[in-house]
Amino acid sequence: MAKITFITQDNIPVTVEGESGSVMALAVDNNIAGIDGDCGGVCSCATCHVHVAKDQFSLVGEASEIEKDMLELDDSTDDYSRLCCQIDITDELDGLVLTVAG
């Protein structure tokens, strides 16, 4: 079980809990504004872009090459960007804070 906080584009923190699956699916199931997950989680649409809190980036780790290629062309990408369809929920992510990309 992991509690994950999403900070939406309106700067509203929303904390939700998940056990398994992807962080994108958790966000969509909880109607987190700005996380659409149109492609269902296969890294095709980039509608689940989040910025990971800088001091927590090691928890989620680096994006794969394919994910980096997707992020490269997103205007709001920074060094701590991830597509959260590619982050699987584990107990280690408890307390993770993700800011929904604008």
């Binding site: 269902g40 296969v42 890294c43 095709s44």
Partner: protein, 385 residues
């Protein structure tokens, strides 16, 4: 060769050159074949514009058969974004429970009907019917309108011997004109009425803008959905074990939909017009010349996709571009994905197997390439569970 297969004609040229050239009505096109180049070009709207002469970014070009600009498809940012802000909520309605329930009712009725027949011509008697009835939901218009659209046949701009039939296109334009005028007199709850009441950047939409949005909605989602559905039926006919697998592992259906859409790439390519002298993949592109974003080739790029010519139903990393990429990603993608989801759910529930009786492939000629995009005819027998 198995009939569902869609060979990749771009493989060698993609690897050796990255680009190819084709003529189209004396307005040549440089086809961009690699995934990264396609994505970068799609993203760079300032150098590769969509807001060219109406019809010019479509291949084959529709410049000779229409003057109306399709919106938001043939508009560049920032105005493009204003139109998408208006349209996106409407085109996300397929995610709503009520919409899903109605679409499911339609598709179940259609599948139950074809299960009674000894022979079904999938393109005309299944895919076109499914697409037309589903479109009444997307427009929120009367269900009986589907009969009119089915009567137009499988192509809006094409007749049997003419890939660009102006008379046939006029049928659609005249229909849309009449519908907008009718909705203006008696407002309804459909997309025409919503657009008549809407504003973009503080201004009401003009008649031509509304018409441009409606033409895009009709034309953009017709051949593409028909190809996706027909190819999917052919795939399940020759891979009955896949129906069993999806029945047993419903959690992979979402991935299976993306994979089928990647593999079959229902729209081969879309053009852009260069606004300046530039280059792609070390090929010179002259100002005011056309390039194409070849989605079908990019989806088979072996530098990105493992075993790109195989349908791997649970493919986890699948950055395909069948719905386009960047600003101009497909407005109807949510609707298309919902159609595929409910179609597969229904096939799993009601169909045990599908037999292909005979078929005629639909082959596009694109310069040096010939690409199978679907079928002109696919006669099948649906067998009940």
């Amino acid at each position: 060769m198995k009939k569902h297969l869609s060979p990749d004609p771009f493989k060698n040229t993609r690897a050796t050159s990255g680009c190819a050239h084709m003529d189209d009505q004396n307005d040549p096109v440089t086809m961009i074949l690699r995934l990264k180049d396609v994505r970068k070009t799609a993203h760079n709207w300032k150098t590769f514009q969509s807001g060219a002469t109406p019809g010019r970014i479509v291949i084959p070009s529709e410049v000779k058969i229409r003057d109306t600009r399709q919106i938001p498809f043939e508009v560049d940012p920032p105005l493009h974004g204003s139109f998408r802000a208006l349209l996106d909520p409407w085109f996300k309605r397929p995610l709503e429970a009520d919409y899903k329930a109605k679409l499911s009712t339609q598709i179940k009725a259609l599948v139950e009907n074809v299960l009674k027949a000894d022979k079904v011509e999938t393109v005309a008697e299944f895919s076109l019917c499914l697409q037309s009835h589903a479109l009444t939901l997307l427009l929120n218009t009367d269900g009986s309108e589907a009969d009119t659209w089915i009567g137009w046949g499988t192509h809006v701009f094409r007749s049997e011997h003419d890939p660009l039939d102006g008379n046939k296109a006029a049928l659609l334009y005249d229909y849309i004109d009449a519908q907008i005028k009718s909705a203006a007199i008696n407002p309804r709850h459909d997309l025409y009425s919503v657009l008549l009441a809407a504003q973009v950047d503080g201004k009401k939409l003009t008649f031509d803008e509304i018409k441009g949005i409606m033409i895009l909605t009709f034309a953009g989602g017709r051949d593409t959905v028909i190809n996706a559905v027909t190819n999917t039926i052919a795939y399940f006919a020759e891979n009955p074990e896949s129906l069993v697998r999806l029945r047993n592992e419903p959690e992979i259906i979402g991935r299976a939909i993306e994979e089928l859409i990647r593999y079959f790439a229902p729209l081969t390519q879309m053009g852009r017009v260069a606004t300046e002298d530039t280059q792609v993949c070390e090929h010179a592109i002259a100002a005011d010349s056309r390039v194409s974003l070849c989605w079908a080739s990019a989806n088979r790029d072996e530098s990105v996709f493992e075993s790109p010519d195989e349908v791997i139903l649970d493919r986890k990393l699948n950055p395909h571009v069948s719905f386009g990429f960047s600003h101009h990603n497909c407005l109807g993608a949510t609707h298309a994905r919902q159609i595929m989801r409910i179609l597969i759910d229904t096939l799993i529930e009601k169909v045990s197997s599908i037999d292909i009786l005979d078929c005629e492939e639909n082959i596009e000629t694109l310069g040096e390439f010939s690409r199978k995009v679907g079928f002109h005819r696919l006669n099948v027998k649906f067998n009940p569970r």
